[in-house]
Homo-oligomer: 374 residues x 2
């Protein structure tokens, strides 16, 4: 058996969810509670009645890729050939790490707090990782100087999520420009940036920054999972300049061959209807208002979400977030994700998703605030 | 960049398809020409209108897995926990090679002629391969003695497709029993068998053999792609005994997280309706009768297909099958796949798929028979 597999720590998120009781308040959810826009599934079903659901080329249906590329219109990656449709953004990130790094010589730099999968995928591929911690005293705002200072001689890829999971922090336009400038000025082989934009349509601040607008060595991962409540459709994509995209498509061709042609058609329909990609964003904006009010009332210290649908709150006494999460699920009927798993800098904090109804969110906060020791 | 990626030969099948002209006779197709059973897509769409398309657990929806496991009822893998739903059988095979073999110490044995992806996936994972050739003089019938004799000290997994792509050869029950007996009697760590059953529902001989019925160290890959004309739905699965299945699910969880929940629901519907899995098999049986008659009339030497939807034919003068395939697509308007890419033993042969209309198949055979030199 592959020994690297055994070296990866099992998912604590899944372990906590497995302990959930039917009446638990679930603030651990990583997916929308809205239903998807049914009309797009129906359109894809009608399309399949005429054309079936056949293999597409490995990168995916060209018309769908063209629409996606044109929608984002990033410099150097605005054509169909710059897009590869994937099984969710999970496969997009996986093939990026697998393709862009040589395990023998290269290293991945992860900007933490971060989605734990980046590090675990690197472990699966035998790629060494380095981590840079955004700081609690900055309430986890992105610190470009710290990111650049953390680049080592072997660093060839930086993984950064913005809007970020778990903090909801968003790179500003100035952050993206400064990162591009610093990386562009480095001598030697380029350091690539993987900008995970999966929460892009759920951004609540003005002037968010997209690294691909300023830096040519950028790979963008995204999907319809969060924007359109389609987590289970498994339609994501990776965008990159030529020739990086060709290498990504090659890896993808051996891993899964193609993304679902049915799901690709759903994507085609969504990108064909102006506004469909952001139709559900309004719900999140409104929900966030109630969330902010509940957070203010809770007395807990929190990170104001610039994007995504999470709020990080500090445990009343800080401390061991994993123990606190177990106490919460076992004895207080609340599922919350310990900050520690997203990076050591988030120890003492919990990640709460706020897609559950607001009264449940408020009650969950109350129970967390009641934890006098963790 | 990952240097292993660059060491993999590009797909010649794709290169030949790219040269196809609008009026070419396409005998290169690797997918059904039937439409899928629309009622199952419609049922899944109705289901999504009520429940959305959310993440399932990594292995896939438990009710769907239970139906699949119960349908095949292989010893030691007949429960939901023995099944992991994947993005087509491509991901099923990929995670099997990635999970079951340690690139530092293990080796994959491929029974050729074989689907080229087995070797290419192993290359991508850095796993050494050994190949064993079924013989032209046996018309590529499975030769269990040859397979067992080819096992080396580092061989830990044998990949075998039955019904096979490209030859359509099928393991008999006696073959499966003899393989199980020989492997069971070997001292030392077990040699696993990956039985790729993707063409299982398209079997035309009596008494086909399934390795999993006789040998506990078997992993089965399958999908709905060929049986139900759902190549583009990307729903496959891998079945294995505990604890191998747990390791496979872990790899799958990092590669793609889950298979499409929509596609999983389509599978649930198909496995819920008796006969739905084999409803399209009748079309292939009937088509095969016409194919056999056309092959007899062609004067070409051929491998009678025991299963799948391919016929291998020998070039009139044998010889360089890759050059012949280029000649056919460039100058004779026929797409056919050179035998060489499936293993050196199939040099001098072509793989023809017979899902195209019979008159086109007959005309394609005529043009191939006309090749007096290749």
């Amino acid at each position: 058996m592959n020994p690297r597999l055994l070296s990866i720590e099992p998912s604590l998120i899944r372990a906590l969810h497995a302990k959930r009781k039917p009446d638990s308040i679930d603030l651990g959810l990583g997916e929308p509670t809205l239903l998807p826009q049914q009309r797009f599934l129906e359109a894809a079903t009608r399309w399949a009645s005429e054309f079936g659901t056949k293999y597409t080329v490995n990168a995916g249906d060209a018309a769908t890729r063209e629409k996606i590329a044109a929608h984002y219109a990033y410099p150097g990656m605005s054509e169909a050939r710059n897009v590869c449709l994937t099984t969710g953004s999970q496969e997009a990130v996986f093939i990026t790490i697998k393709t862009m790094l040589d395990p023998a010589t290269d290293e991945l730099l992860v900007v933490e707090p971060a989605f734990p999968a980046y590090v675990k995928m690197a472990q699966l591929e035998g790629v060494p990782t380095r981590r840079v911690q955004m700081r609690e005293e900055h309430l986890y705002r992105y610190d470009i100087d710290a990111v650049v200072a953390a680049i080592g001689p072997k660093t060839r890829l930086i993984a950064i999520g913005s809007p970020g999971n778990p903090t909801g922090r968003v790179l500003t336009r100035s952050d993206a420009q400064r990162l591009a400038k610093a990386l562009g000025e480095r001598p030697g082989p380029p350091v690539w940036v993987l900008h995970d934009e999966i929460y892009r349509e759920l951004t609540y601040i003005d002037g968010p920054g997209y690294v691909a607008e300023f830096y040519p060595h950028t790979i963008v991962a995204n999907s319809l999972s969060k924007s359109n409540a389609l987590t289970g459709m498994r339609i994501g994509w990776v965008m990159a300049p030529v020739p990086a995209i060709d290498a990504l498509v090659l890896t993808h061709s051996w891993v899964t061959a193609t993304a679902s042609a049915f799901g690709q058609r759903v994507a085609y329909e969504i990108f064909s209807e102006p506004g469909a990609l952001t139709e559900q964003s309004q719900w999140y904006r409104k929900q966030r208002e109630g969330v902010m009010s509940a957070l203010d009332d809770s007395g807990l210290q929190y990170v104001e979400p610039d994007g995504a649908f999470y709020a990080c709150v500090r445990l009343p006494n800080g401390g061991d977030s994993i123990a606190a999460a177990h106490t919460l699920v076992d004895h207080r009927g609340v599922v919350a994700i310990p900050g520690r798993i997203f990076g050591e800098t988030l120890e003492g904090w919990l990640r709460l998703s706020w897609v559950a109804p607001l009264p449940a969110f408020r009650e969950g906060l109350r129970r967390i605030a009641d934890l006098t020791s963790s």
